[in-house]
């Protein structure tokens, strides 16, 4: 659980017992490793507190493992927690004012940095909330609001990754304003709402496209919640009632910032969002009193974020560069709401959301399989009860959307896979050609491999562009092949020429001459590549070749 007093008291304990630092460090690490994902963050806060407040020797003790600790925990926790972990990590990177060194070992920090860049390489909107929207099929303005919140969160998390993205910031603020307008009590015409939907949808798509280039882990967390192992769920349920802030912390950034629990440390990110929201809400109240002022405000926002001129035309140019017209639309809405047009309550929003939900080829492309897979824990409950979602099924289907026209093999739409596919099609072409000519030729099943050959066999010999029949022929030749002797092998077999024999002798098999030579090593005259059997002399190579039939000692396998 997360509580300042506990962390403080534990920190002071660590301070008083520096002689047991190693053990304390181990205990904290153990806690981080063993704690259920939702609790890991708090253990990190403790680690952080000890390192920052106590200092030596803790940073060096934790520093050795910090990358492992951090990356493991990061991969297990849900999305909001990840954001908080990143924030925590940022504080570690800030150099100490006195020493000029960062809290932990530079190498480890760098590792974490790289890890985070990789881990945040994919981003996707949280599906969960929209799922909820779907189930409450009764459409209200609130569904639109949620969509906005959802998008806001998306944009926000992107801004966290790309602090320099002024357009992202701008969009963030636009969304905030849109939200403000919508949350006003006055009703808005149905058409307007539908239009807003479409706008939001296009924002979403654009956002997804952007994130494609800058992928991130956001989405697994949204899925992780319902898929917690039984243990984890029990862990959550067993939490003291005052402390069950995991669920709110999960929902807050997506849905209802207003319901943010007051616990400060618990949810820094949602807190930040909340404060932002409330500040905007405050402005909104002013605006409600004094609508015309909004135009000015609007300009101010843009000036702050994009450092562009505060005039409306430039806003428009900004938008078109974003491929969006929502600012104009926003103003449109403003005008309408100012005019106080009254409209009946709206229906059918859910349908639009559904389209939004199903639409996305983008969504599928956006998620990295690794991210989805992290949700899959191999446990009984999960295997029996989880119903695979579309993008999980896509992992074995549409994620590779480039299907071979000759068979069902699939490829990614990436340049590398395009190459693979070309090779694959090439293989089909050759194979089909040969299959057609098949009846004219005789083919056989090849012999199986011996244990040793199989143990060394590489599958690329089959699928690596080679044609298997070449291997097949090779395998059969192996059996048929006469053992080929190297010259060295042949020359090793020598027969000393008997005193009474001629220098030259005829091989009993090939009828060629064997000519004696003087061997310096032994100091005798010898025949090389020769063997004496039953009183006759043969070339050793001839002997082997003919004896190959009956001589099981030299089985072809052994070559």
């Amino acid at each position: 659980m997360n509580s300042r007093p506990i962390i403080e008291s534990l920190t002071s304990l660590a301070l008083e017992n520096t002689e047991a630092a190693t053990d304390i460090a181990k205990a904290v690490e153990k806690r981080i490793n063993k704690a259920i994902p939702s609790q890991k963050l708090y253990a990190f806060y403790l680690l952080d507190s000890i390192c920052k407040n106590v200092g030596v020797p803790y940073p060096s003790l934790f520093g050795a493992n910090i990358f492992k600790l951090f990356s493991q925990a990061y991969s297990l926790v849900d999305d909001p927690t990840r954001v908080k972990l990143i924030k925590l990590f940022r504080t570690w990177k800030i150099p100490n004012a006195v020493t000029g060194l960062s809290l932990f070992d530079e190498d480890q920090i760098e590792l974490i940095d790289k890890f985070l860049i990789r881990a945040t390489a994919a981003n996707r909107p949280p599906e969960q909330q929209r799922q909820i929207d779907l189930s409450n099929s009764k459409a209200t303005k609130s569904s639109l609001l949620r969509e906005i919140d959802d998008l806001t969160n998306l944009v926000n998390s992107r801004i966290l990754q790309m602090p320099d993205d002024s357009k992202g910031r701008e969009r963030f603020q636009l969304l905030q304003k849109l939200r403000t307008i919508l949350s006003q009590p006055s009703s808005i015409p149905q058409q307007q709402l539908d239009f807003t939907k479409k706008q939001l949808q296009s924002i979403r798509e654009d956002e997804l496209l952007r994130l494609n280039a800058f992928k991130q882990q956001q989405q697994p967390a949204s899925k992780q919640m319902p898929q917690l192992s039984v243990n984890q769920l029990q862990g959550l349920l067993n939490l003291p009632s005052g402390n069950n802030n995991n669920f709110p912390s999960y929902q807050a950034p997506f849905g209802k910032p207003q319901q943010q629990p007051p616990n400060q440390l618990n949810n820094a990110n949602a807190q930040a969002l909340f404060s932002m929201m409330s500040s905007i809400l405050n402005q909104d109240q002013k605006r409600q009193q004094q609508q015309p002022q909004f135009q000015v405000n609007n300009g101010e926002f843009n000036a702050k974020s994009s450092k562009s001129s505060s005039k409306d035309p430039s806003d428009n140019s900004n938008e078109s560069s974003l491929g969006l017209t929502n600012l104009e639309f926003l103003k449109d809405i403003l005008r309408k709401s100012k005019a106080g047009v009254k409209v009946p309550p709206m229906k059918g929003n859910a349908g639009i959301i559904r389209v939004n939900e199903k639409d996305p080829v983008h969504v599928k492309k956006n998620e990295t399989p690794e991210v989805i897979l992290t949700r899959f824990e191999l446990n009984q409950n999960f295997i029996n009860n989880h119903e695979p979602t579309e993008e999980e099924i896509a992992l074995i289907y549409t994620i590779k959307d480039n299907q071979c026209s000759n068979c069902s093999k699939r490829f990614f739409s990436t340049p590398e896979d395009a190459k693979k596919k070309a090779l694959h099609l090439d293989w089909h072409f050759r194979t089909n050609k040969k299959l057609k000519a098949m009846s004219k030729q005789i083919h056989n099943r090849s012999w199986f491999l011996s244990d040793q050959q199989w143990e060394q066999f590489q599958e690329d010999e089959i699928v690596g562009g080679n044609d298997n029949y070449d291997i097949g022929v090779g395998l059969n030749n192996r059996i048929n092949e006469k053992p080929v002797l190297t010259e060295k092998e042949m020359n090793k077999k020598v027969v000393t020429i008997p005193d009474d024999a001629e220098n030259e002798v005829i091989c009993g098999i090939c009828r060629d001459k064997l000519v004696g030579v003087f061997d310096d090593d032994s100091g005798e005259w010898i025949w090389r590549n020769a063997i004496k059997q039953r009183g006759r002399v043969y070339h050793y190579s001839c002997w082997i070749e003919t004896k190959g039939q009956g001589d099981r000692d030299r089985s072809p396998e052994r070559r």
Binding site: H386, S408, L435, F448, D451, D460, N476, E557
Partner: protein, 485 residues
């Protein structure tokens, strides 16, 4: 030694006849069937029929292997199978009416996919290697189907898992009576009942597979548990070495398919777990078995995960006749290949006296499984102390038509032996022991079939898969399997 010209002729005839016949029948009638998401179309085909089908809409798979929308599938001979779909699909079929067909509303593919993705997660996160999955279940519970699904899904994600088959009744990639290990580096062949083909000298529509084949030679693993366990041990040795040498395979892990073990076989299961370093045990279709295994097996729960998946409602009890037919077809395909890639086996005359015939012993262990576990344990302790090779096999003293006719022989790898000295010494006990020791656990080079036996001349006519001047070895393992052309 010559090519059997009549055989060749018949193959050529068949291959040119085949397509014409189909074209006539194609006109007759077509049916379409729609399958909703997470359902499956189950069908059975009679032995003389040939069902053609094509995917019209959606995506579909047969035991994990995706059905291509671009090509017609031909399923032939007696077959009980199913097409399942995640997305919903429409299938067109023609050429024959399945003997039974219906859409089953319950499909296990969802939980199979969960299992697969869970395993894939392990693959990603493991430094040492992919998961080693052992599948255990009663008869006809879908063990082979599940293992097919798991390796197929893995293959779809560019993995190269090793499929180990420990069920000698089943013919995976080759003859029945074999224990095999095969890296799955390409799609399985849905049209082939042995899941795919091994390497030939000719082209094949799918990438062939390269199995390691050990010959058990008996249909029931219980007929010689000692040999069975010895083979498993030797197979696992080779698998371990293969995993060391091939990083791609190591990262993908192993899926082990088994015969219908029951709780009485727990020591065999234990041995498989230990030998293959199994870390995920999946019990299919029998909760009781899982509970019993948890109680009986010695394992480290942090290293071995026990899971259960439910039996598919599409599982049907197959009778022995069906199994026999499957085996006969597997044998036929080994020699003659598939319809679209036919092979030409060779015949060769051999002098029986020049060869050694070994036969796996059928131990009177039929009731072993029902014996008290203590007795089984005693037995196990004895064998683990020293390997009793004499229990594995026996020498066939007089090879004649009475024991060879129509038999399937495995060509044993005796390359380390000076076989010459054993050939004549039929009764040499020591010599025979050495023989068994040398050949029992080794892979076989191939199989041959005894076309005929002439007792007077002491000669036999063998059908061998590939042309050779001389048979590569002098030692055969005489299996329990017979084949009738």
């Amino acid at each position: 030694m010559s090519v059997d010209s009549s055989l060749l002729q018949s193959i050529i005839d068949r291959s040119s006849d085949g397509p014409h016949v189909e074209k006539f029948q194609e006109i007759i009638e077509t049916h379409t069937v729609e399958v909703l998401p997470f359902q499956e179309w189950r069908f059975e085909i009679n032995s003389n029929d040939k069902l053609k089908l094509r995917l019209l809409k959606g995506t579909a798979e047969i035991f994990g292997t995706e059905v291509s929308p671009n090509i017609d599938l031909t399923l032939q001979g007696s077959l009980k199978s199913s097409i399942s779909t995640f997305s919903g699909c429409t299938i067109k079929y023609w050429n024959c009416q399945p003997s039974s067909e219906y859409v089953g509303e319950e499909s296990c593919i969802g939980s199979y996919l969960n299992l697969h993705l869970g395993l894939e997660n392990l693959r990603i996160n493991s430094q040492t290697g992919g998961p080693r999955v052992l599948i255990i279940g009663p008869k006809d519970s879908g063990k082979t189907s599940l293992s097919r699904v798991l390796v197929s899904y893995a293959e779809k994600m560019d993995r190269r898992p090793l499929l180990v088959n420990l069920s000698p009744r089943d013919s995976i990639f080759t003859m029945p009576g074999s224990l095999t290990a095969t890296a799955i580096s390409g799609m399985l062949n849905i049209e082939n009942i042995t899941l795919g083909e091994t390497i030939t000298t000719g082209p094949s529509f799918y990438h062939p597979k390269q199995p390691l084949v050990k010959c058990f030679g008996l249909e029931n693993y219980r007929d010689n548990l000692k040999l069975y366990k010895y083979l498993i041990e030797r197979l696992s040795d080779s698998v371990e070495k293969r995993l060391m040498a091939s990083e791609d395979v190591r990262k993908a892990g192993i899926v082990i398919d088994t015969p219908a073990f029951h709780i009485g076989d727990f020591e065999v299961i234990q041995e498989i777990i230990d030998d293959f370093k199994v870390d995920v045990l999946v019990v299919i279709g029998n909760e009781r078995l899982l509970v019993d295994l948890k109680r009986k097996l010695k394992y480290d729960s942090s290293k071995l995960k026990l899971l259960k998946v439910s039996k598919s409602s599409g599982c049907i009890d197959v009778d022995d006749k069906y199994k026999r037919e499957m085996q006969q077809r597997a044998i036929k395909e080994y020699f003659y290949g598939m319809d679209n890639s036919q092979l030409s086996p060779y015949t060769i005359m051999v002098n029986l006296k020049e060869f050694i015939f070994m036969k796996p012993k059928e131990l009177a262990a039929l009731n072993m499984a029902f014996m008290s576990t203590d007795a089984v344990e005693d037995e196990a302790n004895k064998t683990s102390a020293e390997i009793k090779y004499s229990d594995f096999m026996e020498r066939v003293k007089i090879a004649s038509s009475s024991n060879l006719e129509n038999a399937i022989l495995a060509i044993a790898d005796d390359s380390d032996l000076e076989v010459g000295k054993y050939v004549t010494a039929v009764d040499d006990k020591e010599g025979n022991l050495e023989l068994i020791k040398a050949i029992a656990g080794r892979s076989v080079l191939g199989y041959c079939y005894v076309l005929g036996c002439n007792d007077k001349e002491g000669k036999a006519k063998l059908l061998i898969p590939s042309p050779v001047q001389h048979l590569p070895t002098k030692t055969f393992i005489l299996t329990q399997f017979r084949y009738h052309e």
